[in-house]
Symmetry: D2
Subunit: 307 residues, 4 copies
C-alpha cells in the first residue's frame, strides 16, 4: 500500500476542517496553541515511518500519558490493580464525580481522570516516592519512544495544578472512600507532570509499537509486558480510550486508541503498526476533531480495522 | 489447530462452575430451565462445525435477537438510525431508566433494552405493520442460520409481556420524549416475540458467519449488509454487547459478542468463524457465567483475539 | 384587617405579570385556556368569603386533587401508607423517573406524580374497584367544598390519558418494583380523573377549611381526620407541595400549600382560613406564576405566616 | 403548662432508646463521646429556662453552626446570597457531590455541607480575612447565647480537617465551577472551626430566641436581622434542616429546627420559645435519634406545632 500517498490524501481532505475544532482553553498554556496544525505518522515494526504535516512538532501528550502509567501499573500489580480501578466504559464525561460517588470511589477505568490519578497513586506506592514514580514513567516513555530527549513542561504542569480543582475534587473524593493512599496534592501534581510530557507524532507512533506487538518492542526486542497484558491494554483503549465518544471511535475508526486534550491521538493496528495524529482543535467530547476524522479516513482507505 | 480437543478441554474446565450461575428467574418460562446445561459450537466459512455438549438443544435467544433486528434496521435506515439510538456503551445496567431520562429518551445503544425496543419500533415503521416486522426478523434469522424450522415461543413471549413492566416503562418514557412512533404495547410485544426465538448453538454460530465475513454469507454468497456496516455492528457488539460487563468481556475475551439472559452468547472471530456458547446460569451482570468463562478459555488457548 | 382591600391591592400589583407565565400546553384541553385570568378567595371558619377576580370560574384542579386522595388514603391506612410512599421532598422535577428508580420504586412523597398514582392505587385496593374509588374521592371533594355540583371533565381526563406516557412510565416502573397492585392503565386513568375535577377558588378555599382546623370542618362540625393527621398533611404540603420549588414557596410564602398545572393553588393559614388562587400562566417549575406572587404579597401584607 | 413535668416525662420515655443510636465515628474526637447522654432545655422570651438531663454539658455544635453563619451572611448579602446557594431541600444525603455536579456547583441550600462551606466563603469575602470571619461568627454566637465563655475546639477542628476529604472534594468542585472565591483549604478549615464550637442545651436554646422573635433578641432588645429574614431562616430550617430526613422532621415534629452530628438539635416555636436537645447517638440519617424522638414527644404533649 502506498502509505505516503494515503497520508497526503488524508491531509488534503481534512484541511477544510482545521477551523472547526476548539483548542482546550481551560489552562492558559494550552489555550495559546495555534489550532491550524496537523501531523500524522505511521511507524512499522522495522522502524520505517511515513509522515505528513509537521511530524516533529512537540505537543502536550496530556491523557495519552494514561496509557503509559497504566502499562507500568499493570506490569507491577497485575490483576490486583483492578481492586482500585475498573475496566468498564464510563458512559459519562471524563471528569464526572457522579459516577465516582455512586460507585464508592472506584473509578470505572484507568483512562478517565479519576482512574488515571488512582493509577499514579499506585505507582507512587510502588516506587515509594512521587518524584521517583514520575521519573520512572518518563524513563519508560523515553524507552518505548527510543528518544532520550523527551521532557515534561513545568509551565503546563503548574498551570494545570493551578486550575485543577476538579481533579483535586476527584482525588479528595477517592481519598474519602479510602481509595487513595498518598497525599492528595502530591498525587494530583504527579498526574499533571505525566500529562505535561511533550512528544511529536513521530515519537508517539514509535512508542505504540510495543502494544502493536504483544508487549515486545519489535525493534529492540525488549519485553515490556506480557502478550496478554498488551492485548488487554488495547481492549481498554478500544472501549474506554475516548471518554464519552469511545463507542463512536470504535464504530468509525475500529482501532484501539487514546486521545489527549492537547490534540494528540495514538492508535494501534495489532501486528502491523503504531499510529499518531496531532491537531489541537477539539470536538464536543474533548477529542481532536481533525485527528479523529483523519483516523476514520485512514481505516476507510486501508481497510485496516480490527473488526 | 485441533478445535475439537480445545472445546473438550474447555468443557472439562468449566464443568465445576456449572453450579455457580443463577438462572434468570423473572419469568416462569425461563426459571424452569436446568442450570447444568452446556454447549459450544464453532462454525467455519466452509460450513465445518465443531461442537461440545448438547449443541442441538434449543434455547431462548433473548437479547441475542437484538443483533438481528439491529442488522435489519441498519440495512434499511443506514446512519439515519442514529437519530433515534446511539452507539455508546451505557455504563449502567441494561434496563436503567435513569440514563434514558437524562439523555431525553435517546437510548445509548441498540443492545440495551430501550435501544432494542426502539430498533423494533423503527422496523415496524419500515414494514408498516408489527406482525410483518416480526415475520421479517424471523425470516432473516432463518436465512442466516440456514434453517427453516426456527420458531418463536408464544409461552415465553406471553410470560415476558405479563412481567414486562420495566420494558413498558422504558417504552412509555421514550414515547413521552417523542422517540417512539408506534403503539407502546404493540412495540414491546413485538420485541418480546423477537426475544422468544429458540435456537441451538449450532444454529447461532452458523448465523454469525455474515458478521465474520464483512456482511456476506460465506456459504451461500448472499450479501446481507455492506462490509462497513458489518464491521460497525461488530464494533457495537464489542463495546456494548454485554451490558455493564462489556469492558470486562472485551478485556478478557477480546472478541465482538452478544449475550442473552437465556444463557446464550454469540461471538465472532473476524475473517475466521462464528461461535456460540450456551449455559443458562448467569453472573451478576446477567450474562452466562460459564459461557463467558468458556470464551475466555477459548481465546486464551487459541490466541484468537482481535487485539 | 380589611381583607377585601388587601385582595384588591394584590390584584392591582399582579396584573402586569399576567402575561409572563406560560399555560400548560402538554394537553390540548389545558392549552386552550386564556392565560390572563385571575381569581383569589379567602374562606374563614364561619363561612365568610372574600374574593377578587372571577372567583366562580371553574378550572381543572389537577395536582391539587393529590391533597384530597392523600387525605382519604391516610385516613384509611394511617402510617401503614408510608410503606408505599415517602414524605421527603424530592429535589427533582415532579415527574422524574430517576429518583424513583434509585429508590426502588418507592415514590418520595404523595405530591409528586408517582406518589399520587401510588396513593390512587391504595384507594383502589381499599374500595376494591377503580370506579368506586374515584366516586368516593369526588364525594369527599363535594363534602369538604359543601358543593354537590362539582364534576370531572371527561375531555380533560381522556386528553391526559392520550398523552400520559410519562405517567404510564412511572406506574409501570413502580409495578416492576412490586409497588403497584392494580392494573397499570386503570390506576393511571383513575388518577387522571381525579386531576380533571373542576372547581373555582371559592370552592377550593372552602374545601381547605378542614386542614386549617385540625381535620374538622368548622362549619358542619364533620370530623374528617385526626388533628395529628391534619397537621401532618400540612407539613407535607409545606415541604413537598410545589415540586422543585417547595423550598422557595416555604421561604417566600410561609404557608402550607399545593399547586396544580391548571393554574390553581390552595393554601392554609392554620386556625384561621383556607385560601385559593387561580391564574393559569405557569412559571418554570410548573406552578402558577401569578398565583405564587399573589400569595407572597398576601403574607407580606398580612404578616400571616407559620414562621 | 407544666413544662418541667413534660420534660421529665420525655426523659423517662426516651431513656430506653439511649442505646439505639450510633455516635458519629468518622473522627476520633467525636467517636469517644459517651452515647448515653441526654439533655433538653426550653428557653422563654423572659429568660426562664426549663431543663432536664445534663443541660450544662458542652458538646460540639457541628452543623448547628450553619444556622449562625447563614444568619450573618443573609444579614450582609440579603437576596444576593442566593446567587451562590439555593434554598430547596436536597433530596440527597448531606454531603452528596452528585447533586452539586448536576447543578453546576450551586449548592441546594445553606444547610447541606457544600452550602455551608459556600456561606463561609461569602463571610470570608465580607470580612476579607478567614481568621476575622471566624471570630465574627464566634462573637455572634456569644452574643445570641449571652455567654462570653463559648469556645471552639482546636482538637475537633484539626481532627475534622485531617479526615475532611469529602468536604475538600465539595469545596474543590465548587471552585471548579467558579462558585468559591477563597483558597479551598482556608475555607474548609474555617468551616470546621465553626463546627467545632462547643455549647450546652442551655446556651443553644437561649441562642435560638432571636429566630423565635422575628430577628430581635427578646431579652436584650438587640435587632439582629429583619422579621422577614428571620421567618425565612425558619422556613429553610423546616424544609432543609435535617438533611434527607427534613420531611420526616417537619412531619413528626412540626417545628423549624437544625441538627448536628455532635448529637445536638435546636428548634424554634415561633413567638414562644427556643429549644435545644442533646443526645449523641445518631439515626441512619445522621440526626440525633433520641433528640428527634424527644422533640416529637414534646410537640405531641404540648400541641405546639406550626401546622
Amino acid at each position: 500500500m502506498d502509505y505516503q500517498r494515503i497520508l497526503e490524501e488524508i491531509y488534503d481532505e481534512v484541511k477544510p476542517l482545521l477551523d472547526e475544532g476548539k483548542v482546550a482553553d481551560y489552562i492558559p498554556a494550552l489555550a495559546e496553541v495555534n489550532p491550524k496544525q496537523f501531523a500524522m505518522t505511521l511507524t512499522f515494526f522495522d522502524g520505517t515511518q511515513f509522515s505528513v504535516g509537521n511530524a516533529d512538532k512537540l505537543f502536550s501528550i496530556q491523557s495519552i500519558s494514561k496509557v503509559f502509567s497504566f502499562t507500568l501499573a499493570l506490569k507491577f500489580y497485575k490483576d490486583e490493580l483492578y481492586r482500585r480501578v475498573g475496566r468498564e466504559p464510563s458512559g459519562n464525561p471524563f471528569n464526572s464525580l457522579v459516577q465516582l460517588e455512586y460507585e464508592n470511589g472506584i473509578p470505572r477505568n484507568p483512562f478517565i481522570n479519576a482512574g488515571a490519578i488512582n493509577v499514579v497513586d499506585a505507582l507512587i506506592n510502588y516506587y515509594e516516592d512521587a518524584e521517583i514514580a514520575f521519573k520512572k514513567v518518563l524513563t519508560f516513555i523515553r524507552d518505548i519512544a527510543d528518544e532520550r530527549d523527551i521532557e515534561w513542561s513545568r509551565v503546563v504542569a503548574d498551570s494545570e495544578m493551578e486550575h485543577g480543582f476538579r481533579n483535586m475534587a476527584l482525588a479528595n473524593l477517592m481519598k474519602s472512600f479510602d481509595n487513595l493512599d498518598n497525599d492528595v496534592e502530591k498525587v494530583v501534581r504527579t498526574y499533571f507532570k505525566n500529562c505535561s510530557v511533550e512528544m511529536s507524532t513521530k515519537m508517539l507512533s514509535r512508542a505504540m509499537l510495543y502494544l502493536a506487538n504483544d508487549g515486545v518492542d519489535p525493534i529492540s526486542g525488549e519485553i515490556y509486558i506480557s502478550a496478554s497484558q498488551s492485548k488487554r491494554i488495547n481492549a481498554v483503549m478500544l472501549t474506554c480510550g475516548h471518554y464519552d465518544a469511545s463507542g463512536d471511535f470504535a464504530f468509525n475508526v475500529g482501532l484501539p486508541g487514546k486521545s489527549g486534550v492537547g490534540g494528540g491521538i495514538v492508535a494501534v493496528v495489532p501486528e502491523v503498526m503504531g499510529i499518531s495524529v496531532f491537531s489541537p482543535g477539539l470536538n464536543a467530547q474533548g477529542n481532536s476533531l481533525v485527528g479523529t476524522r483523519a483516523l476514520e479516513l485512514f481505516t476507510d482507505k486501508t481497510g485496516l480495522s480490527i473488526f
